[in-house]
Amino acid sequence: MAKKIPFLILVPVFGLFFSCAFDVIRVKQEPARFEPDTSIQDAWKLAEDVEISLDTGYKRKLKAGTRWECIGKIEKGDVYRTKDQILTVEGSNIYEACIVVSEGQLVGFYLPANQTFSPLSSRKSLPIER
């Protein structure tokens, strides 16, 4: 009986720990002020697939041949959207995203519904085809 007591205590403790752990994969976000700008009229296609590793551990692929259109900008760069594929960033929750490009490199994501910027820890070059 004496040996069973710690076990009986440990079960709910682990239960609480793991149930809290379900919520820990958070997508890093910072507020972003989006300025829509249709006058930029910049659009391009991706020449090759681009694999992205999110900081949350999930992976995403920007598909070759998808057309990306500039819809505006935020402080971190220009915001591009595509209608050719769904792009989301994912942690415990899922957010539809646009890509943010600065100096030809992918620097992160703009989450329109949240009005936030989710940065990538390392920039990614984009094989652009105009």
């Binding site: 239960g15 793991f18 149930s19 379900f22 919520d23 594929q85 769904i86 989301t88 415990s92 929750n93 899922i94 957010y95 539809e96 989450l111 329109p112 519904a113 949240n114």
Partner: protein, 144 residues
């Protein structure tokens, strides 16, 4: 021991009954009779293909309004204004999806199930239309 076996047996039977209980016409049967999107709205189909954890049927909340339940093998749709939206489900944790809708656009949200500590988690996921149409085909309409 016999009692435990009976409890397990009844639990399994109960789950099977719940999972088989989804009624209503199939998506494939009512696709042609579904009314068009009204006015300047957009449409979102919400469906669940997985029978895993069929007894767990949390409310589906769209922008803080309950619009349906996450019933296994079931689907429903909601017409709403274009713009940014949030769909959430709650079991032992809340899971959410945020997405945008354009005017006249139809989008598909699948309710996936993952293992939780006490009960499963149901989380909404945005799905490409072509893939969604094939997945939703055998789901039953559970809307009003």
């Amino acid at each position: 021991m016999k009692v435990i076996k009976q409890i397990i047996l009844f639990s399994i039977m109960g789950l099977l009954m719940v999972s088989c209980a989804t009624s209503g016409p199939k998506y494939s049967e009512m696709a042609n009779s579904t009314p068009p999107i009204s006015g300047a709205n957009a449409r979102v189909y919400i469906y669940r293909t997985s029978a895993l954890g069929a007894a767990i049927q949390p409310n589906v909340v769209l922008d803080d309004r309950v619009v349906g339940k996450a019933v296994a093998k079931g689907f429903f749709y909601v017409d709403c204004a274009p713009g940014n939206h949030r769909i959430a489900t709650s079991t032992e944790v809340e899971r959410e999806l945020t997405f945008s809708l354009d005017e006249g656009q139809t989008r598909y949200v699948r309710l996936d199930v993952s293992i939780g500590f006490f009960i499963g988690h149901v989380y909404p996921n945005l799905v490409e239309p072509e893939k969604a149409k094939s997945e939703i085909e055998n789901c039953h309409y559970i809307g009003e």
